[in-house]
């Protein structure tokens, strides 16, 4: 097991390095630097600015400094658009908000999806099963950017129950719609995966044995069927996590939560590459870390896996 984890880390590290270097490379080959503007700056001013941001250094040195800065000091460098803020400030300001509702959505999607999926599988071919299958099939086509406006139209403008945006320190009223919008299509996907995998498990021979020896049905499901049936869901958690991270950009923009997504989109519109790269690398790092955890969890759950 330890050897397996170490091997997985050895794959994860180059992934991160490739990501950082790829982003940095893209920034270099992009036409037009961050300081090209309609009115050309005097050459001396430009030289000063470039020296301030280290852009006068040779390319390999810039790349190396950037990499070392991130790895050793967790420092993503200065922002190109805001003189008084660096990328770390922007991340530190928005990231806790995004992380809060992101994690809640992730947990909600996983638990709700697994719950509905197991319920539908146990009540196979009853009305509950049919409703679950039908609803989740359509709900898969409801991504966050469709759910968010629909929710706001219904709950804010028609019913007036919930605030249409803002954060307010993370009070629950402000969390409800972001979490629903972000998790709907993943509740649907996880439900479908859980249902079909549970159905398959319940048909296998060790479950027949468990039933034959007279175990009550709830014990059959929870003690025997649950663990093997969970495996496909666990391997789907990695993609779900990535989707939550990506989707949070829409939530941050649409609900004005003050999260990091707003800063990301603004930086994209301002061509503030430093912030874009910082956010991309941060999210990439989180993804790699999470995939590592998922793989370890999978190895722990599945005794058949080869280390």
């Amino acid at each position: 097991m330890t050897a397996y984890i170490i091997r997985r880390i050895l794959v994860a590290v180059p992934t991160l390095v490739v990501l950082i270097l790829l982003c940095f490379f893209l920034m270099q080959v992009a036409p037009g630097g961050p300081f090209t503007s309609e009115r050309p700056l005097p050459p001396q001013v430009l030289a000063n600015i470039e020296a301030r941001y280290g852009l006068d250094q040779p390319l390999w040195k810039q790349m190396w400094d950037y990499l070392v800065g991130i790895v050793t000091r967790f420092d993503f460098g200065p922002s190109f658009a805001y003189r008084d803020r660096d990328v770390n400030d922007i991340i530190a300001h928005g990231f806790p908000i995004t992380l809060t509702y992101g994690l809640i959505s992730f947990v909600v999607a996983t638990l709700a999806g697994m719950g509905i999926g197991v319920a539908a599988a146990i009540r196979h071919n009853t009305w509950l099963d049919y409703i679950a299958v039908g609803a989740t099939f359509s709900a898969q086509a409801l991504p966050n950017f469709v759910m968010a406006p629909i929710l706001v139209i219904v709950f804010t403008w028609q019913l007036g129950w919930l605030p249409g945006g803002g954060w307010n320190g993370g009070q629950w009223q402000y969390l409800v719609m972001p979490v629903i919008a972000l998790s709907t299509s993943y509740v649907a996907s996880i439900t479908r995966i859980m249902r079909s995998s549970m159905l398959e498990t319940l048909n296998s021979s060790f479950i027949r044995t468990a039933r034959a020896k007279g175990l009550p049905e709830h014990k059959v499901v929870w003690r025997h069927a649950m663990k093997p049936a969970m495996l496909p869901v666990v391997s789907y958690l990695g993609p779900t996590f990535v989707a939550m991270i990506t989707g949070s950009v829409v939530i941050d923009v649409y609900f004005s939560t003050g999260g990091i997504g707003r800063a990301y989109v603004d930086s994209a519109l301002n061509r503030d590459y430093a912030v874009m790269l910082g956010v991309t690398i941060l999210y990439g790092g989180l993804t790699v870390l999470f995939n590592l955890l998922v793989d370890v969890a999978y190895a722990w759950l599945d005794p058949k896996i080869r280390y």
């Binding site: 794959v11 180059p14 992934t15 490739v18 990501l19 790829l22 982003c23 893209l26 920034m27 992009a30 036409p31 099939f137 359509s138 898969q140 086509a141 409801l142 991504p143 950017f145 469709v146 968010a148 406006p149 629909i150 706001v152 139209i153 403008w157 990535v242 991270i245 990506t246 950009v249 829409v250 923009v253 649409y254 989109v265 994209a268 519109l269 061509r271 590459y273 874009m276 790269l277 956010v279 991309t280 999210y283 990439g284 993804t287 790699v288 995939n291």
Partner: protein, 320 residues
């Protein structure tokens, strides 16, 4: 089929003359025409009502994007100055003003814009799937067939690329170069083939030790010819299924990006951009501005899901 063989069998005892002919016919492969995988799949697919219904819906949407512009009285960028001052009052969908879907927030014709947006989405989806099929299939088949360290390096590369949050890379590409259709296709092309290559590689691994590949090798067929002529045709079923399921995913990616305002630039538009605009203006009493794009978005995506699901049931050998 069994029944007919048995019948032939009993007749054979009585009429040797005819049996000769039947045996000859059997040898020639005429008497019992085998049903191919594709014929089987087509029959199974058309027995699936939901999938056929979805296919019809999808056909109608496509037809609409082709025929629709003929009836359009406005272009995507023309502003109806006469009505733009009072969009909530006069910009609603109506036949007599020529704005069948009403006006958008800037006084442009939503009918023309919805058609253009839907067409954008469909083209993006198809191109993404096409790139995935071409690159992913060749890459995966090559890695799986050659095996060894080549396979190892190729698949580790995919592992690295696949764990990067690709949405951010596409946005990065579009922002840094230009926000055009071309860059969008490049960005989507870069990411869409990764999953496909993994699936194809897995299938190739199970195919490459089969007898027909051995036979081809014995006959002296070269490696690349084997991949193209013997491995790839046998992968087609699974490739078609995953390509169909990929189309809606690519549409989702594109709509996501354009919802954020980072997609193709005005006056070109896309369903994500229209949904975003409509969501921003619905408070002024213009519900059609969000209803039209969401309707077309949902019909397209849900139909594609159903068609893909039907194809999987029809073609995937696992579920037989």
């Amino acid at each position: 089929m069994l029944g007919s063989i048995r019948r032939y069998g009993t007749e054979m005892v009585h009429r040797t003359e005819q049996s000769e002919r039947i045996i000859e016919a059997l040898v020639e492969g005429e008497a019992i025409r085998g049903r191919s995988l594709w014929e089987d799949a087509r029959r199974r697919f058309f027995r699936n009502n939901a999938a056929v219904g979805a296919l019809i819906c999808l056909g109608l949407v496509m037809l609409f994007t082709i025929v629709g512009p003929l009836f359009s009285q406005w272009s995507i960028e023309e502003i109806d100055w006469a009505r733009m001052g009072n969009i909530a009052g006069e910009g609603h969908p109506s036949v007599e003003s020529g704005h069948y879907f009403g006006l958008d927030g800037l006084g442009r014709d939503l009918y023309a814009r919805t058609i253009q947006a839907t067409r954008t989405s469909l083209i993006v989806g198809v191109i993404g799937a096409f790139v995935a099929v071409v690159i992913g299939t060749l890459y995966g088949a090559f890695a799986g067939f050659v095996g060894g360290w080549v396979d190892n390096i190729m698949m580790r590369t995919v592992d690295v690329l696949i764990s990067i949050p690709y949405m951010f890379i596409i946005i990065l590409l579009m922002v840094m170069f230009e926000r055009s259709f071309f860059m969008l296709f490049v960005g989507i092309g870069i990411v869409s083939w990764l999953d496909m290559s993994r699936i194809v590689r897995g299938q190739t691994l199970s195919l490459k030790n089969r007898e027909f590949v051995e036979a081809a090798t014995t006959a002296g067929v070269g490696r690349f010819t084997i991949i193209l002529r013997h491995i790839v045709p046998n992968l087609l079923g699974i490739v078609v299924v995953y390509a169909t399921l990929l189309v809606p995913l690519m549409i989702l990616v594109e709509s996501f990006i354009s919802f954020l305002g980072l997609g193709v630039q005005e006056p070109n538009t896309s369903l994500g951009a229209l949904i975003s605009e409509g969501a921003g203006t619905v408070i002024y009493g213009t519900p059609w501005q969000i209803a039209c794009p969401i309707f077309f978005f949902l019909v397209t995506i849900i139909s594609l899901f159903f068609v893909g699901d039907g194809l999987r049931d029809a073609l995937d050998p696992k579920d037989r």
